[in-house]
């Protein structure tokens, strides 16, 4: 399979929109994964990023605002054989769709949930979103917002999410790497894509949007590897009381002090600290813990009950009732 096998149509996002970059990376990731297009369903809600299914040569639905996770849940539970991707923006996924977001995570249904986060409502032309920082000035908050944002990782973990990854839309290799991990993970996976809106919130991820920026301001977390970053990996993440901090190796700490990333740890305490660092911004697979998936459990329970109960057809079901006969 090649990226072209997953590509369809001409995207109509604004020139320079982060969605273009992400879409390209998704096509490539799917080609590397190799599930055939007819066995993939891409389901989105409403918003700029939710146009994405139209540019996929797979099965798909561009549905209604906020409900993508719920719709994808119905699809996956009746068709566990399909590879189901659910694509939302920060408004679609965390505001109007917040309830479905947390319950899909709690239930642990095997969806690949993509959250394209640009801190803004683009399609409705520039209102603050549930991820906009306090004080954010927008058309609907000309004097700045007076509310705190959701932090997607915190919300995901609070809902008992077992997989959380983060990537930058312009970073194709980093994006492909986490998408492959998200797809391989059995259960709900959340991938937060840091994505720039060139029109209404330009520059929101400037710190990490270029390779140089990522060298200076991001850390790639990989399971089993030391948490190092910087131009020459001169910085490391070390433990500090109940928190983590950045330390310069050889000055503030030794290499032995630098933490090794454990994405598989059941306890999400340290993973949450990593996900919430403001400098550097953590990229890569931050949490990846195996647990029973909802769709597989539903199917297994059906098989279990089938083996136990003697009735398997409607005619047999009728016979389980108290029946009497009226003779002619």
């Amino acid at each position: 399979m090649t990226a072209n096998d997953y590509k369809k149509g001409q995207p109509r996002w604004c020139p320079g929109c982060g969605d273009h970059f992400f879409l390209g990376a998704l096509h490539k990731a799917l080609a590397e994964i190799g599930v055939e297009p007819q066995n993939i369903a891409v389901i989105s809600g409403i918003g700029c990023s939710s146009r994405l299914p139209h540019y996929m040569a797979t099965y798909g639905m561009n549905t209604i605002h906020g409900r993508a996770a719920a719709i994808a849940t119905g699809c996956k539970v009746v068709r566990p054989d399909l590879d189901v991707w659910q694509v939302s923006g920060d408004g679609d996924g965390l505001a109007i769709g917040g309830n479905h977001f947390i319950h899909a995570n709690r239930r642990n249904i095997d969806l690949n949930m993509i959250l394209l986060n640009n801190h803004i409502y683009g399609l409705t032309k520039g209102q603050y979103s549930p991820t906009s920082p306090r004080g954010f000035v927008s058309k609907s908050s000309p004097y700045g917002t007076v509310e705190d944002p959701f932090r997607p990782a915190e919300l995901c973990f609070g809902a008992r999410g077992r997989f959380f990854a983060r990537c930058v839309a312009t970073d194709a290799p980093g994006t492909i790497e986490v998408l492959k991990a998200a797809q391989a993970h059995k259960g709900a996976s959340v991938t937060e894509v840091l994505q720039n809106c060139v029109i209404f919130n330009n520059g929101c991820w400037d710190a990490v949007y270029t390779p140089q920026g990522r060298k200076a301001n991001a850390i790639y977390l990989r399971h089993g590897e030391k948490m190092l970053f910087g131009e020459n990996n001169e910085y490391g993440i070390v433990q500090s009381g109940f928190n983590v901090r950045v330390a310069k190796i050889g000055e503030d700490c030794t290499m032995d002090d630098v933490l090794v990333h454990d994405a598989h740890c059941e306890d999400n305490t340290l993973q949450l600290k990593l996900a919430e660092m403001e400098w550097p911004i953590a990229l890569g697979v931050i949490r990846d813990v195996e647990a029973p998936t909802y769709d597989a459990s539903v199917a297994a329970q059906i098989e279990e009950v089938k083996a136990k109960k003697p009735y398997h057809t409607f005619a047999q079901l009728l016979e389980t009732n108290d029946i009497w006969e009226v003779k002619g």
Binding site: Y59, T63, A70, W324, E325
Partner: protein, 614 residues
């Protein structure tokens, strides 16, 4: 003495069991119904239970009732007023006496009429019968004490013993109507197969209740017998509307060869459908108890896209929340069945009571031009056929379909002749044929205007659906004005083209002076009213709608055939308004009642008689 009691033949009788919520009146009522149906009587039941799970014991709000109408011939309603009232405590007598006929016999447990019980039931004096002006036959017996005595050696604790009081009442009523109590014994032995000691204790109490009647004659002059005239031989079971609806979905999925998916959120009075379907995993039924009503409907849309028979069940408040996803199914043209078990509204309204106030919401409660078939079941057993019909229509025409029932028929039960599924029509969804590969687009239509179903997994048929308007030829997003106009017409026409059975006129079809029109769960009451009017020599006919959108083709012709038409419904005139909209110049009389209770046949008769004579 025993042979001095005369046995009278009855055509039909109405019995109301009432007591505290925890007294097991629903079970006693159900068992009496089944015992009666087993010997070939027709039955129609109506459980009337409070919204509170456990109201304070003995309080007026905690009274739970179960009414059953038993007939030698067909019965269509649970009956207006009862011939026998069982009141297990003072509160029950206080609240339920108003459902009694003046001649009704009342059975009370005198042990539950102590000073405290009377106070809780807000009696001012201890002569409760005089206080309520009751001059009926009263069988006053110390049921609690007799049950205690009966089970004294059982080793059961007091609480468990008291739970058997309902069985004493059942035994007594069985004696009064010369019922074969061994049928009840068998039911208990089956129900408590794993707890034989519980079964035997209950059986002992039923026998004690029966013997008490037999030995004392319970101070009545007669006992009664209801012969069976039921004509159609076959195998029968007692079924509630909700269970019949669930069975209809299961049967349709099996006939169509599809997985059945139910996305639902608990809501009274629809929850029993979720309960019922959740039991049947051995038939492969998938039920998801969703995080909200929205998700119930949305996940059903996803399941339909995935190729399942998708259903979401709810009541009126849930329809409000589901309407957006229902609309998505309209524009994506996917098969979804939406069950609305109506209850009293608006808002939370009367959760356990019955109304027909959601009709216009189901027909029109969505943004945009959103045509959707709407069907309504007419009785507990008819729920099966209408659920099957709704599934067939959704799958064959690729459309969401609303099936309306109501709390009255959903909770009520009747004797149901087991269906022979070979007699039910095939269900054949319009799967896209393989030879259309290359030429097919998502909105290519069949001869009758339906979209084809291309289920994921089929190579070459990958496509994207969505809530945005699509080009009729390519399936791509389109805002072209002519295309939108065309698609709006195509969606409208597709629903209008669906074939539904003609409206049937019953009664004096040829020359009625008044045509009674209704829809859904009021069929039985309207039919009984018509029969009574006909028996009085009045020329009255009945036409009842099960298919509301599209309307039967002969609707206008039938409505215009009679000089007077009354539309009787449990709302402020929603069907009447809809018919006026669809039939030029149609101006029916109306009978509207929104009490949360079923119609009362005698009130209907009185109102219709006036209309005929005017």
């Amino acid at each position: 003495m025993a042979d001095a009691v005369e046995v009278k033949e009855l055509e039909h009788v109405v019995i109301r069991f009432s007591g505290d919520s925890g007294d097991g009146m629903q079970l006693a009522g159900n068992m009496f119904s089944t015992v009666s149906a087993t010997v070939g009587n027709d039955i129609c039941t109506f459980p009337d239970y409070p919204a509170d799970i456990r109201a304070p014991q003995g309080s007026l709000t905690g009274v739970s009732g179960f009414q059953v109408h038993v007939g030698a011939d067909r019965v269509y309603t649970p009956g207006d007023e009862c011939d026998v009232l069982v009141a297990m405590n003072a509160a029950a007598l206080k609240t339920q006496y108003r459902y009694c006929k003046p001649t009704a016999c009342i059975i009370i447990d005198t042990d539950s009429f102590g000073p405290k019980d009377l106070e809780k039931a807000q009696f001012a004096t201890d002569d409760y019968l005089a206080e309520m002006g009751i001059r009926n036959d009263v069988i006053a017996c110390p049921i609690t004490q007799m049950v205690k005595d009966c089970l004294a050696d059982s080793g059961m604790d007091n609480k468990a013993v008291l739970k058997c009081r309902n069985m004493f009442a059942l035994g007594l009523v069985c004696w009064l109507f010369n019922r074969d109590i061994t049928i009840a014994f068998n039911m208990l032995r089956e129900k408590f197969a794993r707890k034989p000691e519980v079964a035997e204790a209950n059986i002992k109490v039923i026998q004690a209740g029966y013997d008490y009647g037999h030995n004392t004659h319970a101070s009545v002059a007669n006992t009664y017998r209801i012969e069976s005239k039921q004509v159609r031989p076959g195998r029968y079971m007692d079924i509630t509307g909700n269970k019949a609806t669930a069975y209809g979905f299961v049967a349709a999925a099996e006939k169509a060869g599809l997985k059945l998916y139910l996305g639902s959120y608990p809501i009274t009075p629809a929850t029993d459908v979720l309960h019922e379907l959740s039991k049947h995993k051995s038939l492969g039924v998938i039920t998801v108890q969703c995080e909200d009503e929205i998700s119930g409907a949305a996940s059903a849309v996803g399941a339909a896209f995935g190729g399942a028979l998708a259903v979401t069940s709810t009541s009126g408040p849930g329809i409000c929340l589901k309407s957006e996803a229902m609309n998505l199914a309209v524009i994506m043209e996917l098969p979804v069945v939406i069950l609305d078990v109506q209850r009293g509204g608006p808002a939370t309204g009367l959760p356990t009571k019955s109304e027909q106030t959601d009709l216009l919401q189901c027909l029109f409660g969505r943004n945009g031009e959103s045509p959707m078939p709407v069907l309504a079941a007419t009785s507990p057993t008819n729920c099966f056929d209408m659920a099957y019909a709704a599934c067939k229509m959704a799958l064959e025409h690729m459309t969401p379909v609303v099936l309306m029932t109501d709390a009255f028929i959903a909770n009520g039960s009747a004797a149901w002749r087991l269906p022979d599924m070979d007699e039910y029509p095939e269900i054949k969804p319009p799967y896209v044929p393989e030879e259309m590969l290359g030429t097919w687009t998502p909105y290519t239509r069949t001869a009758d205007g339906s979209r084809y179903w291309a289920v994921p997994g089929r190579k070459g048929f990958e496509h994207v659906l969505g809530g945005l308007e699509k080009d009729s030829r390519t399936g791509a997003i389109s805002t072209n004005p002519e295309n939108h106009d065309l698609m709006t017409h195509l969606r409208q026409q597709k629903i209008a083209n669906i074939e539904v059975p003609d409206l049937v006129v019953e009664g004096c079809a040829a020359d009625a002076d008044l045509l009674i029109v209704g829809f859904g769960g009021t069929y039985g009451h309207l039919h009984s009213a018509m029969e009574e009017l006909n028996a009085k020599g009045l020329r009255v006919a009945q036409a009842h709608f099960s298919y509301i959108n599209p309307l039967p083709r002969n609707t206008a012709e039938v409505m215009r055939r009679y000089k007077r038409v009354v539309v009787a419904e449990q709302n402020m005139g929603q069907l009447a308004a809809y018919l006026r909209m669809r039939i030029d110049g149609f101006a029916p009389l109306q009978f509207n009642q929104v009490k949360g209770q079923p119609f009362v046949v005698s009130e209907l008769v009185e109102a219709f008689e006036k209309m005929v004579r005017e």
